[in-house]
Symmetry: C2
Subunit: 243 residues, 2 copies
């Protein structure tokens, strides 16, 4: 069967996350329902990153197989008519048969925004975690540097029984604006709540609550209880996926 | 009586504009009601820029006079507790007696954001006008250059009987991103709908509907009916005010 790739962005504020849940408004639920209306039957979809409630996407990727040939640009326009403006489909294209947005992905990049400003910026309030205090950015950069490489991130993940939490972090960096701190992290894959736990840890270092040199020991311990702070979801955006 | 200056930002999406209107949710109404709760009696306020429904503010300025000495930082925190997160007060400070945020202002800068992308960015949908097509940016820059200086902007304003529409535009420029075009304009003051009408005109030039060299003639004509397009409010933000 022909495979299709769908590129989309969404504002996660009004959704209970990406993954379909009965009785909840989710991105997957809305998207599959819309595909069902337009294609006659809702296809099974795969997704690159199952974002949590309140988390956004700039470059999410979804795939599905369907009988027959679809007009990608036309389908994208029709989907936007149903799903917009909270969800925007930028592209629908036929890809290699068997393509899976989930299993073929080799790289994911996330962005996390955090503000040191005393008051919340109303125009960014759903996309920036306002911590309202100055942080030790050098310490936070040291945390970012220490997590690069292949590690078992069990201390920073909500684990699933029997599943490995080993991930390979390719790159991390902090961009520093006047008040805004933006964390970028690229990895082969992420376990559940990994970015928010890492940002929470960096924040604890930034506010002087945790010593930066404990990071390697905590990773080694695999002890989830050592990570106190999980940054809130609304600062997080799935930025892009590589194949 | 001591005078106070209040600096604030707001997301204009949920308000019927800045200026108080009976039975409508407005920024002025919310702010004066909150001041009334905190000070015992609501002061009369003056504002630098009376933004329309849906228009945002990054650096709006409000002033009021009140008896006695106020604790500015404490009042800012209390106001944010009542008004946040759609309205954020970044500062309250005592200023020179008689200060008026409206009459003492000598400079206002606005920002207008417009996207050429095919689909709306869900995370910016309340702050960017999505025109969904490529525009002639050189033509739009020529419009921006032509309006600098002191002119009667009657063709670009919703006029008020008996009031002058002469304004002095100090500077204008377009920032160009991949899809995003950002218009900046600074002037001594603005008449009603002036920025949105100028952006609408620039858009008509950018899409090839209007010739760029008509701009000077239209300004001279003072004929409001010559300006066909008024850009929607949600792309507009009052950025800063100078005194």
């Amino acid at each position: 069967m022909p495979s299709y790739r769908l590129d989309l962005a969404y504002d996660g504020t009004g959704f209970r996350g990406y993954a379909r849940q009965d009785g909840q408004r989710t991105v997957q639920g809305e998207l599959e329902d819309a595909l069902g209306i337009l294609l006659g039957v809702a296809p099974l979809t795969a997704v690159a990153g199952r974002t949590d409630a309140g988390v956004h996407a700039h470059g999410q990727v979804v795939s599905f197989d369907t009988d027959g040939e679809l007009d990608g640009p036309q389908l994208a326009r029709s989907l936007n008519g149903i799903l917009g403006p909270e969800i925007a489909v930028s592209k629908v294209a036929r890809v290699e048969d068997g393509f899976s947005a989930r299993f073929w992905a080799t790289y994911r990049r996330y962005r996390y925004q955090l503000s040191q400003a005393e008051s919340v910026d109303p125009l960014a309030r759903n996309q920036v975690w306002n911590v309202g205090r100055r942080l030790d950015v050098a310490g936070m950069r040291a945390v970012a540097a220490a997590i690069v490489g292949e590690h078992d991130f069990s201390a920073f993940c909500r684990s699933v029984e029997g599943k490995s939490n080993v991930r390979r972090v390719e790159e991390t960096w902090w961009d520093e604006g006047d008040d805004l701190l933006t964390f970028w992290i690229g990895a082969n894959a992420f376990c559940h709540q990994m970015v928010r736990s890492l940002v929470g840890f960096a924040y604890d270092v930034g506010r002087g609550f945790t010593a930066v040199d404990s990071i390697s020991e905590i990773i080694e311990s695999g002890d989830r209880s050592r990570v106190v702070t999980v940054a809130p979801p609304h600062g997080l955006t799935l930025w892009e996926v590589g194949y």
